[in-house]
Symmetry: C2
Subunit: 514 residues, 2 copies
């Protein structure tokens, strides 16, 4: 058994049985070893940003890590942006990054680069230096990933190909830390103070179990609940407590937190502005408001909320969202009516991967009472996340419909994810919101107070000239595509896509809000 075979066996034994990859020569023994471990599924992505984004989407839905296979420093670099999103989401990923053979590195061959400098920017990293230690390194990487971190194992080619590999037993799976009774009691005191209080939910705090506990607390004490702006995975819809997300714009957050005197953090970070703006605050905690840490993202957030609920809301039931859908709208597509189509037709048990950006501003209201569903969001702000994450989510949950609501500019970062969706016959419906601009930047150009908005500036925010054709793009990747100009067309095409297996693309011609 060579190193690669022992590595893959170790991953599989630890529950990591999907590997998204885009390999090169230095990873050929890993590739060859895939056939010797039947439990490992290899999935090809045509670009590393697809590979890492798929691993992120997979982990968010499977609640366990996938592996990636990447080709030296440049391959890792191509995947870093979506690893950044994973880091912010605190989803675990085990990257296997092939490297030159240990003895070959001294020659500074063309692909030589500082892999550890790159991998260190997104989490834990180790270069495995011997075939004997490789499997143990892999077991440690898996445990790190299970704790919600990106773990990168750098695998020199000779460590991979040398005989003498021995699979390693799995390490104990990390468990979430229990929040102490003292901390729980301190938050109970805050809740009973009578002051205006908000519980800010993040990490698994936006999953159903935690939401139910939080809702009981809210019902009993009157505290407001908010989810962090970009949740890793939010469970919502009919039968689940409805919780509003903090806004993306600082102005929205300031409004949402008006007169709040206490913010209780349950797996979320204290609210800050996404970007800095001249003359505006970065820290969005209102003046005089205290911030109380109930649970860190890695803590047992749901149990902490339940402990509080058992004290302050012993006999109180959560307030569950009623089933309610918008009517099917008509007419040319608008920022309002397209979300109503989605709200009206969202299938049961759907997974929404939301990278709709400005086009999706009205989406949460329209889908609030739709059948229970999950929403995955752009946690790290690094665009090009939607199509890959939808791919990974569909691999994790083959029996659930995945709906990728996708801004056009962001789609162009990692569009080859569609090809992987076609190859793996994944049930992903991608609705591309085609407003032919980086609409958010047109807004931001004003918000940052840039005085000049001449033609050269506007040209850099504009995606027309030439117009992108997402129906042709889908065809290029082997995915059927259609174009919708009206709400009726979108509804018909969305229904049609849901009725047939495999991926579909709908280019929805939704004009900008601004």
């Amino acid at each position: 058994m060579n190193g690669a075979q022992a590595l893959i066996r170790t991953l599989v034994d630890a529950g990591v049985n999907v590997c998204f990859g885009n390999p090169g020569t230095s990873e050929m023994h890993f590739v060859a070893a895939l056939d010797s471990v039947p439990e490992m599924r290899g999935i090809l992505g045509l670009y590393e940003g697809v590979v890492t984004g798929a691993a992120d989407g997979y982990a968010r839905m499977a609640d366990k890590p996938a592996a990636t296979l990447l080709h030296l420093g440049p391959g890792l670099a191509n995947g870093l942006a979506n690893l950044h999103n994973a880091r912010r989401a605190r989803t675990g990923i085990v990257n296997v990054v092939g490297d030159h053979a240990t003895y070959h590195k001294q020659y500074d061959a063309p692909l030589e680069s500082d892999i550890e400098a790159l991998s260190g920017t997104v989490g834990w990293s180790r270069t495995s230096t011997s075939t004997e230690s490789l499997a143990a390194d892999a077991a440690e990487a898996v445990a790190i990933a299970q704790s919600g971190q990106v773990a990168t194992l750098i695998l020199p080619a000779d460590v991979s190909w040398t005989e003498g590999g021995v699979p390693s037993a799995s390490l104990a799976q990390p468990v979430r830390a229990t929040v102490s009774e003292n901390v729980v009691q301190a938050v109970v005191d805050v809740l009973r103070s009578g002051e205006s209080t908000v519980i800010l939910l993040g990490n698994v705090g936006t999953r159903e179990r935690a939401l139910r506990a939080a809702s009981r607390i809210s019902q009993a004490t009157g505290v407001k609940l908010f989810a962090e702006t970009f949740p890793t995975r939010m469970e919502r819809g009919a039968g689940v407590p409805a919780v509003e997300r903090l806004g993306y714009l600082a102005e929205q957050v300031t409004y949402q937190l008006t007169d709040v005197r206490n913010i209780v953090l349950a797996g979320a970070k204290s609210p800050v502005s996404f970007f800095a703006y001249p003359g505006k605050a970065s820290d969005l905690v209102p003046d005089g408001c205290k911030v109380h840490a109930l649970a860190e993202p890695g803590d047992d957030i749901a149990a902490a909320l339940e402990a509080i609920a058992d004290i302050v809301a012993a006999d109180v039931e959560p307030l569950l969202q009623e089933a309610r859908r918008p009517s099917l709208p008509t007419g040319d597509l608008t920022p309002q009516n397209w979300v109503d189509v989605i709200g009206a037709l969202l299938p049961e048990n759907a997974i929404i991967v939301d990278e709709s950006n400005t086009s999706g501003l009205l989406l949460p209201m329209a889908t609030a009472g739709a059948p229970k569903h999950d929403v995955l969001t752009l946690t790290g702000g690094s665009i090009g996340y939607g199509m890959p994450a939808a791919t990974g989510a569909a691999v994790a949950c083959p029996d659930r419909p995945v709906i990728n609501l996708q801004a056009d500019g962001s789609a162009m970062y990692t569009a080859s994810a569609l090809w992987t969706q076609a190859r793996e016959e994944l049930n992903v419906t991608t609705v591309v919101l085609s407003n032919r601009s980086y609409a958010i930047l047109k807004l931001e150009l004003q918000r940052v107070g840039a005085e000049s908005t001449g033609p050269k500036a506007l040209d850099l925010l504009d995606l027309s000239r030439p117009d992108l054709d997402f129906v042709a793009l889908a065809k290029a990747m082997g995915v059927p595509g259609t174009r919708a100009g009206t709400a009726e067309e979108l509804a018909e095409q969305f229904r049609e896509a849901q009725s047939k297996p495999g991926p579909h693309v709908i280019e929805a011609m939704v004009p900008t809000l601004f």
Copy 2:
């Protein structure tokens, strides 16, 4: 004048008047400032890998740096792979990477990451900490780039937007170091030793002036000439001395260097294997062969070769390649006949951007006697270089036809470069060599001695199921595309593409060699 305006003015005054960019919110003041400096041309890329690859292609042809505009750490990360190629090519680029405002970084907002760790992997890097010092930092970055390095200027948003910017005077342009007479004489002694000797040419050693001097030396002394495996820019064709490149495969190099006793490095590195292979040598210098350094890549390589030629070949003329083209072939496309079509029809004064990989193995022979042309190659081995580099080369040389010979797998990394070609109306003809596989990896899988080649392994090297459709992909980007199955069709479509301005894509259905 704010910081951004002073920065752009400084760049323009130093001769950097093209900025390839993909901006975000933190770069909005830079974007707004573009209209205040008319000499700066802004060119939008839909992905950062396109932006950086275009800057590389531009610099190779313009012999001066372009700027890039990138959005924080993730934007830089997306551009790193082609910056890696630029680093290996020693082409200068001035990256401007927007960052959060200095006072905002402490809040660890979602897009916060370690930009300096990333930029440090590809070259010089500095975070500009005040509006007053920004322009001076920019002038230094330009000088670094002019010396053939990737220079990254990290630009916090507040440094950009604050008033008080003052443009900085340009620094002296770096000059290539003159090789000492002692070194020249030592090489002359080697050349006169009568031992089998090779001069290995790299950097500007593969440009016409150096090639003419090297050819004179070769004619006078009988030494063999080789170019490095992946030249930054090679001038060749009718009227230019013909020099063979060292092969990609170690076996080829071993053959090319058989019985060689001396290797003289003229801007090239000592030959090493691109990858390590079990049981095979990494260092490709033959046993007992001495390596002599005539000129480093940054030295005045052409002058050093001319100094030698003036000693050993005072009255000797270079041997120039005769004009000679293959006949136009017929029949279904093959790895041989498609290159003959290119050789037969290559227009005058063309720029070939070669990322044809295995499909292009026979290309050098077929184009050897075509009209004089430049060839840009994949210097760093990081695929996804061709389409962006062709874009930049066409911006640098609007009056020259650019021919991008492009492997299909690599094309999928950065295909949105086609959109920029359409927007900027660039004269780029892309011939996609569509063999529907990572053919080189099928070869490498055997070469690394991987024993198993089961179906799961082969699946990761295969680009069919579904077939990619590059005609549709071109259409998606606003570029006219056609498909050629025979040599006659390829010839007709290639002629047609040359006869019309703007970009064209031809998908050439060339089967794999292996």
